[in-house]
């Protein structure tokens, strides 16, 4: 054990093996089946966090540092880099792993025995007004550390257990200004025994005095290969069979948001797993179907797109075709026909706007000057849809105006 003392990789492996042990018994299995996969496959250690190398490296080093200084907790306090850390990503979509990273860090710092007493996690759905900051947060922050009994040396070797508590404020940018200012003094006064960790999407929404008390970590958008690897992993562990291109589709539909991609995958697995039993009953002679475990049906690209509400390509094709300028007369009849069908089939206008945008803007055949005009139309339409305008009229207007631009006036 002593050899792996300084080795984070080995420690991570030890955690993984120890945490996988208690997962036996029917009851546990049942609850994990009902658990969202996003929670189930949240990274357990910093090494598992996908594609945020810079941030995890810094945090790893922090961990290592805490480990080295562990025998002398007092000096440690002054040396550790972040007083409080502020994890943020300024313009990125959600689902890049901010919360996952910080939870993984907390887990590898304290381990299961201390986790409950040392971590306070609050997110936007909990009440977080100024009252809570003054009351709950402050009380937790000033509570003295408890030294749990019965922690043997092996546990201490695995987890550094630094002498402070961590308060994680998830989605901190949705806290009110007042609540944030109430935090200021609390953060400083109890910094000896409590560290704060704020997680937010927009660092600009955190008031300056708070931001200056924190060291900041920026999370970049997940690149596709890392995200794909992760999804592939999950699919493998769940025993799913994926058609070629499913992973790419998931990433595309998720728009860089890994959480969304995983949720889509789970829904698809449910549907496929769900539609399977009657099929197996109908075709009993189909022996291979019944042999290969529970979730053996193949997930197709189309089923993912259907779950994500993505319009199939042939509908878009017909729409684009209808918008092309005709030699004689107007495009109105063709376009309005397609749009009426779209509305009757229940496709969502926001989805159409997004997909049409990609189609038009990345189309090399359209001259740039026309694209300029078209992009302005998209901007206006998005605003209208957010304001709750009628979808039928808006879609018709958008497509007719694009057709007008394509015709050249």
């Amino acid at each position: 054990m002593a050899a792996s003392f300084f080795n984070n990789k080995a420690r991570a492996a030890a955690i993984a093996s120890s945490s996988s042990k208690p997962k036996a018994g029917d009851n546990k299995e049942d609850s994990s089946r009902l658990q969202p996969w996003v929670e189930k496959y949240r990274p357990k250690t910093l090494d598992d966090v996908a594609a945020q190398d810079h941030t995890t490296n810094v945090l790893q080093r922090t961990l290592q540092a805490s480990n080295v200084n562990h025998p002398a907790p007092n000096t440690w306090n002054n040396e550790i880099t972040p007083t409080s850390s502020l994890t943020c990503s300024s313009t990125d979509p959600p689902g890049t792993g901010k919360t996952s990273t910080i939870l993984a860090l907390a887990k590898s710092l304290f381990g299961p025995a201390l986790y409950r007493s040392r971590i306070l996690e609050l997110n936007a759905s909990d009440e977080r007004g100024i009252g809570i900051v003054r009351d709950k947060v402050k009380n937790f922050a000033r509570a003295q550390l408890t030294q749990p009994t019965g922690l043997d040396a092996a546990y201490r070797a695995q987890y550094p257990c630094p002498p402070f508590k961590i308060i994680i404020l998830d989605e901190a940018d949705s806290m009110t200004q007042d609540a944030q200012s109430a935090l200021r003094r609390t953060m400083e006064t109890y910094s000896r025994i409590t560290r704060f960790c704020l997680v937010c999407n927009y660092v600009t929404r955190i008031i300056e005095p708070l931001a200056s008390r924190c060291s900041k970590f920026r999370f970049k958008m997940l690149d596709t290969s890392a995200a794909g690897e992760r999804i592939g992993n999950i699919a493998e562990q769940e025993g799913l069979q994926l058609e070629d291109g499913v992973i790419d589709t998931l990433i595309r539909c998720g728009d860089g948001d890994l959480r969304r991609a995983i949720t889509y995958l789970q829904s698809a697995a449910r549907l496929v797993g769900a539609t399977k039993p009657p099929a197996a009953k109908d075709a009993d002679d189909d022996a291979e179907m019944t042999d290969v475990g529970s979730n053996s049906s193949v997930i197709t690209v189309r089923s993912i797109e259907e779950i994500a509400g993505v319009l199939p390509d042939n509908i878009l094709d017909s729409l684009v075709e209808a918008m092309q300028p005709k030699s004689g007369g107007s495009v109105y009849e063709a376009v309005s026909g397609v749009i009426t069908d779209l509305v009757a089939d229940g496709w969502s206008a926001t989805q159409l706007v997004g997909q049409l945008y990609r189609r038009v803007v990345f189309n090399e055949a359209i001259p740039d000057i026309q694209k300029n005009k078209i992009v302005m139309l998209f901007s206006e339409m998005d605003k209208r849809l957010v304001d709750g305008s009628d979808e039928h009229l808006s879609m018709l207007d958008l497509t007719l105006r694009i057709a007008g631009v394509l015709r050249g006036n």
């Binding site: 229940g346 206008a349 304001d387």
Partner: protein, 352 residues
């Protein structure tokens, strides 16, 4: 006597006449034991509600059909009392939070928490969870949707939600990513024809196929509307032939008349006249969007091709204004005035 729409509504998944794949999928979801939250969306009259009720029956058996209506009183933070109707059976609840306008958050929070915190009492029940059906989920305010978000995760052992919406556009992304999206497309015209045929046979009415086709076309792929039209035709005529007229609803007739008047004369005097008509429609509780849309499509059908994109453009523009503004008559009138102007300048050969 019940209307055809209610009397002939299919009660089980097997009785549904179109979208067989969707019915299969819902049935297997109901049997899988791992029933997810659902977001069912599609245009009105496509059969969303019918499918949901059939699914519930598949989940719990015939017990869901014994429903009662409760009136509950909720208190807002500002001590206002809200009366709210809940349709419920032993196994499920059905609510329309949009009824209470901006206070829907209070209802959603209190009611759902209450339901979620009590376990299913009936031990012989097939499922451990209760289902809450939320109608018109796309009319929920942002606050109410945000409140749903946490409830969906926290209480998932005791509670499943089925949201019904016309479009997913107004539903916030976190909710969309927590639910299984189920799209119910409108029935095709031939689907409607066969539904009408069945209805006619059950009632023992002599029917004509040509008329059925015309009704299907007229209804705009809305099955509820088609059935209502079908019934009203048979109620009004002794003998029904291929050529029987389909009487349009009163408001639609009035809008057609208005469109004729607008096209016939473009002058301030006529605008004033049209204004009275618009007021008439509004006082009869026809939604302004419906008025504007119907009027637009009536007008568009009768103007020159070159003018059509412009009419649509301004119609969409003023529809947006209606949503943002507070007094709808301004915008309806502005649309009529704008239309008169572009139509007039087009006829005069001027550039507009």
């Amino acid at each position: 006597m019940a209307l055809l729409v209610d009397k002939l509504r299919p009660r089980t998944l097997d009785a549904l006449s179109y979208h067989p794949e969707l019915s299969d999928r819902l049935r297997s979801l109901a049997h899988s034991g791992d029933f997810p939250h659902l977001l069912v969306y599609g245009p009105s009259g496509a059969g969303k509600k019918t499918r949901v009720i059939a699914t519930l029956k598949e989940l719990y058996g015939p017990g869901v059909e014994k429903i009662k209506i409760d009136a509950r009183v909720f208190q807002t933070t500002s001590n206002r009392k809200l009366e709210f109707n809940i349709v419920s059976s032993v196994y499920h609840l059905e609510i329309t939070p949009a009824d209470v306008g901006t206070y829907d958050r209070v209802v959603v929070q209190e009611l759902l928490k209450e339901v979620a915190q009590t376990q299913q009492v009936d031990l012989s029940a097939k499922q451990r969870f209760k289902v809450v059906v939320i109608n018109e989920a796309d009319h929920l305010t942002r606050d109410a949707q945000a409140a749903l978000r946490r409830t969906m995760e926290k209480y998932s052992p005791n509670l499943r939600l089925i949201l019904l919406a016309n479009s997913t556009s107004n539903i916030i992304a976190p909710i969309r990513s927590r639910t299984l999206l189920v799209r119910v497309a409108a029935p095709t015209e031939s689907d409607i024809c066969s539904a009408l045929h069945l209805a006619g046979k059950k009632e023992g009415w002599t029917e004509s196929e040509v008329l059925n086709k015309r009704i299907a076309k007229e209804s705009g792929r809305n099955l509820r509307r088609a059935l209502l039209m079908f019934e009203s035709i048979y109620a009004q005529n002794e003998k029904v032939t291929d050529k029987t007229l389909i009487p349009p609803p009163d408001w639609e007739a009035l809008i057609t008349l208005t469109a004729d008047e607008i096209l016939a004369e473009r002058s301030p005097a006529r605008l004033l006249h049209v204004r009275a008509r618009l007021y008439d429609l509004l006082t009869h509780c026809i939604p302004p969007t419906t008025i504007l849309k119907t009027l637009t499509f009536k007008l568009v059908a009768r103007v020159d091709d070159a003018l059509k994109p412009d009419v649509i453009k301004w119609s969409a523009f003023y529809e947006h204004r209606i949503k943002l503004g507070s007094k709808v008559i301004f915008h309806l009138e502005a649309f009529v005035a704008k239309f008169m102007r572009i139509y007039e300048s087009y006829l005069m050969g001027m550039d507009f």
